[in-house]
């Protein structure tokens, strides 16, 4: 009793020969099918090379076009020959020229001997498993596919469209239930011969000839009719990418393949010398008697699909440049934007860094330069503080900054003095942004400044105009950032609660609440200052209502208490 190997070969004959010798040395008879597209000289050389082995046969050659009947026909011929020529074969293992045995062949033989009635063939109904890529899951069985997709893509597509248009449906013969699965199977003599000798085989063959990719469904469906015991899995490790193309294994996959404990892997890059050397010359191996476990290495393939389809969030590079709306976030991590806080509080940045542990920058979009934390002129990733570089592409600036500082929360200040026109929409639409605004707080700086009142009035009008536009942006329905807006007057009534909420959201939990509050600027006379602006015809409204007279909510001059200890 032994295992017979069918090898479907169309290229890399030296490797195929090497693997054939490996199988043969372990006593496995081999039937080789070479694609009819192979040029005669190459084929003859291959036949010659294998001629010294007594247990190798060559089956009738068919033309194998991907996705068409040829592959099934080739498998049928080879199976027939195998069953007839080698009567002691009990399991037939379908492999290709780029398959590589990963474990000693004797382990496979023993494994199958213990499961003498079991067919290993991945076989699932299309309705239950949405595997297929390209949309043809049910349709591959109910439409006709006479054209090869690779060669006649135009005809293929048109013919499908026409059939869909006229709602053509094929009848599935004898009520068989279409199943699909990996084309690499291992069937028992009983099952395989039942399929090949079925009196209805011409009917099935005729039907499957026009099915799309029949090599993934012919045996998978018919095995269900005869098998005593189906193990619906393939003994061949073979992974497919998001387009349904097989992953190729290279030298650096050696450990990965070892870890899988699978008997055979496909497909191997023909020049992966290290893999071929390691697996084909391995003496006897460890005889682990473990179950194949391709699941162990699934994660790495799942990650590749994720990377190809979704990419790394917040990364812009030469091979990832999402169009607007598909970027899945402008930035890669949450960050906080504070507007007006550093005007109202004298030591806000230092205080914020202390209570949150975050990196707190100044005004990153200041007209003069990007005010990085600690006065740096170049920060992580060699990002420059040059205003013209920043303004040349502010989106790249902010996404680079957040990307370069992955793992560390970033906070920065913003205000109407800054160059925000080109970036405010991007930040507002970024779900990673947490924006807290004290509207009108820019007036504090003007209030403390030593300029002429006429200039102050003009500047106040300009800043108010910019900020009110900015607030419109933040309140627009397209904004995805977490936005909080207080008028300055409203905020200084009760600053602790909002501050606490913002700090909590930044993350670092402080069990005892805020032990320090930042020091508020001295606002004595601020109400009068605003009134003066009003008297000059410039109505500052963004800061809310400040009475002219000294009132309760202004810091009490008699009891200066910069730090509140709870």
């Amino acid at each position: 009793m032994s295992v017979g190997i069918i090898m479907l070969v169309h290229t890399a004959f030296d490797r195929a020969e090497q693997v054939a010798r490996h199988w043969s040395a372990a006593g496995c008879p081999i039937v080789v099918h070479a694609d009819k597209n192979v040029v005669p000289s190459a084929y003859n050389a291959f036949v010659d090379a294998l001629s010294d082995m007594p247990n190798v046969r060559f089956s009738k050659r068919h033309r194998c076009e991907w996705g068409t009947w040829g592959l099934v026909a080739a498998t049928q011929s080879a199976s027939r020959l195998m069953l007839d020529e080698f009567p002691h074969v009990r399991h037939v293992y379908l492999a290709s020229g780029s398959c590589l045995p990963l474990r000693p062949v004797q382990e496979l033989i023993d494994y199958l001997a213990e499961r003498s009635q079991t067919d290993f063939i991945e076989s699932a109904t299309t309705s239950d498993v949405p595997w297929t890529i390209g949309g043809f899951d049910k349709e591959r069985f109910t439409l006709r596919f006479p054209f090869a997709w690779r060669k006649n893509r135009f005809l293929f597509d048109k013919y499908v469209a026409i059939q869909r248009l006229i709602r053509y449906r094929r009848r599935i013969p004898n009520g068989i239930v279409p199943h699909m699965g990996s084309q690499w199977w291992c069937l028992t003599r009983q099952t395989l011969s039942a399929i090949l000798d079925d009196p209805d085989r011409p009917i099935y063959d005729r039907y499957f000839k026009k099915v799309w990719i029949p090599d993934e469904s012919y045996f998978q469906t018919l095995a269900r009719l005869y098998s005593r015991q189906i193990e619906s899995r393939s003994l061949t490790l073979s992974k497919f990418d998001y387009q349904g193309k097989p992953h190729i294994f290279y030298d650096d996959h050696l450990q990965l393949l070892r870890r899988s404990d699978c008997f055979v892997a496909r497909k191997i890059w023909p020049f992966a010398n290290r893999l071929y050397d390691a697996f084909l010359t391995d003496p006897a191996g460890a005889m682990k008697r473990t179950e194949p476990n391709p699941g162990k290495i699934d994660r790495i393939f799942a990650k590749a699909v994720e990377r190809r389809m979704r990419g790394r969030r917040g990364l812009y590079m030469q091979s990832r440049f999402p169009v607007e709306g598909r970027e899945n976030g402008l930035t890669c991590a949450p960050y906080a934007v504070f507007e007006g806080f550093s005007d109202l509080f004298e030591n806000f940045e230092r205080w914020l860094a202390k209570v949150t542990g975050a990196r707190v920058h100044g005004h990153l979009f200041a007209p003069e330069r990007a005010e990085f934390a600690d006065g740096q002129s170049v920060t992580n990733g060699a990002l420059s503080d040059s205003a013209s570089l920043r303004d040349y592409n502010p989106r790249a600036f902010i996404s680079s900054l957040i990307w370069n500082t992955r793992g560390e929360r970033q906070c920065f200040q913003m205000g109407p003095r800054d160059v925000i026109k080109d970036i405010q929409w991007d930040i507002a639409k970024d779900a990673n942004a947490q924006i807290s605004v004290l509207s009108g707080a820019w007036a504090v700086n003007l209030f403390k400044s030593n300029s002429n009142f006429a200039d102050i009035r003009q500047e106040a009008a300009r800043l108010q105009r910019i900020e009110s536009k900015h607030l419109e942006v933040l309140r627009s329905p397209w904004t995805k950032a977490r936005v909080r807006i207080w008028t300055m007057a409203e905020f200084i009534e009760a600053p602790m609660e909002p501050l606490q909420a913002i700090i909590d959201e930044i993350g670092k939990q402080n069990q005892f609440g805020l032990s320090e509050v930042p020091k508020m600027a001295d606002l004595t006379g601020f109400g009068q200052f605003l009134q003066n602006l009003k008297n000059q015809g410039m109505h500052p409204y963004l800061m809310g209502d400040f009475p002219v007279e000294h009132q309760l909510h202004e810091p009490n001059k008699d009891k200066p208490k910069p730090y509140l200890v709870r």
Binding site: H247, R307, Q318, F321, V378, A382, L389, A396
Partner: protein, 340 residues
């Protein structure tokens, strides 16, 4: 309307491509074959095309690197070298080279010359077009040579492969680290800028216009538009009807420029390690300034050459030290895409 303008654009670009091909055809007369070994090129070999001028210093490592990656044949255009580059090339069995003393700039920075060689020899091959100071690396390059990559690209039905040009520089003033020809330039040029790149999509050719890096940070911070372009498409499954447009930054037909994903995913890409900043660059810069052959409006770049001539330090506190491709992959400077 947009359909119409699309069609108009496609039409214009088709003629532009024909014009470029015609230029290449005319410029072939400027090339004189010194050593033509192209008869040795085998059908599936990967070919490398390069225009050089006085690169005897870089060539030994260059040839070694690309040979070990599996390049089958090198095709050089030697633009009037006088430092022994020609002799060096002549000794290599897998090198064919042509010589010319015509203007590099008027040949669109060598593209016209190489264009002719690509028409003649590149058709049907995977062609790598790089400068002598560009060392291509890509995910898994140490274990998977170029034929593995191009085989996989073929399987994925991709015709082109994009890369970022990454300026490598030493820690310290440029002239302080002496380079020994033949050794790896990255023993001294082992620092780079990791996260200051800016990109935008060109509306006509659809290529990504990438700028930034150390040169933008130091020499072009006041006029970022002038900063050198860093996106390249160096590896292409060539057809004799293809043509590079400006250096290897973009080519026609423009579908070849779409080496990036616009739906949020990552395609595979590599990095061209740029060895421009060897110690010799300081002396060379004043010469290049005089020759004015490297930029279309060379006058605009005088300051840049002056800065380089003054033996500057490019390194800064936030520079990153190069450790290998996995580092660049993790930093997002290249991507494995779905090449597991």
């Amino acid at each position: 309307m947009s359909l119409l303008s699309e069609a108009g654009m496609a039409y214009r670009l088709r003629w532009k491509r024909r014009r470029l091909l015609f230029r290449a055809l005319r410029k072939r007369r400027q090339l004189k074959a010194i050593k033509d070994r192209t008869a040795r090129i085998l059908p599936d070999q990967i070919l490398l095309f390069s225009t050089i001028r006085n690169e005897a210093e870089r060539l030994p490592f260059f040839l070694e690197h690309y040979r070990s990656l599996g390049v089958g044949h090198f095709l050089f255009v030697d633009n009037a070298s006088d430092d022994g580059s020609a002799k060096l090339l002549e000794e290599q069995d897998d090198v064919s080279f042509w010589s010319t003393s015509e203007s590099y700039r008027l040949s669109r920075f060598g593209v016209d010359w190489l264009g002719w060689l690509q028409i003649k020899h590149g058709h049907g091959h995977w062609c790598l077009t790089v400068d002598a100071d560009e060392i291509l690396i890509y995910p898994h390059y140490q274990t998977r040579p170029l034929p593995a990559l191009t085989g996989w690209l073929d399987q994925q039905e991709l015709e082109s492969f994009g890369a970022l040009m990454l300026d490598m520089y030493p820690n310290g003033a440029l002239e302080d680290q002496k380079y020994m020809p033949g050794s790896s330039p990255f023993e001294t040029l082992d620092w780079f800028d990791s996260g200051n790149y800016m990109m935008q999509q060109k509306p006509d050719l659809l290529n990504l216009w990438i700028q930034g890096g150390v040169r933008a940070r130091l020499f072009f911070k006041d006029r970022p538009r002038r900063a050198p372009t860093l996106g390249k498409v160096p590896l292409v499954k060539w057809n004799r009807r293809f043509a590079y447009v400006s250096s290897t930054h973009s080519l026609l037909p423009r579908r070849l420029n779409q080496v990036y994903d616009v739906e949020g995913g990552e395609r595979i890409s590599g990095v061209l390690l740029h060895t421009k900043f060897l110690d010799s660059v300081v002396a060379r810069s004043s010469e290049e300034k005089k020759r004015a052959e490297h930029f279309a409006n060379s006058k605009l770049y005088d300051d840049y050459y002056d800065a380089l001539s003054s033996n500057p330090t490019l390194w800064c506190e936030s520079s990153s030290r190069f450790t290998g491709w996995r580092q660049l992959e993790a930093m997002g400077l290249m991507s494995k895409g779905n090449w597991v």
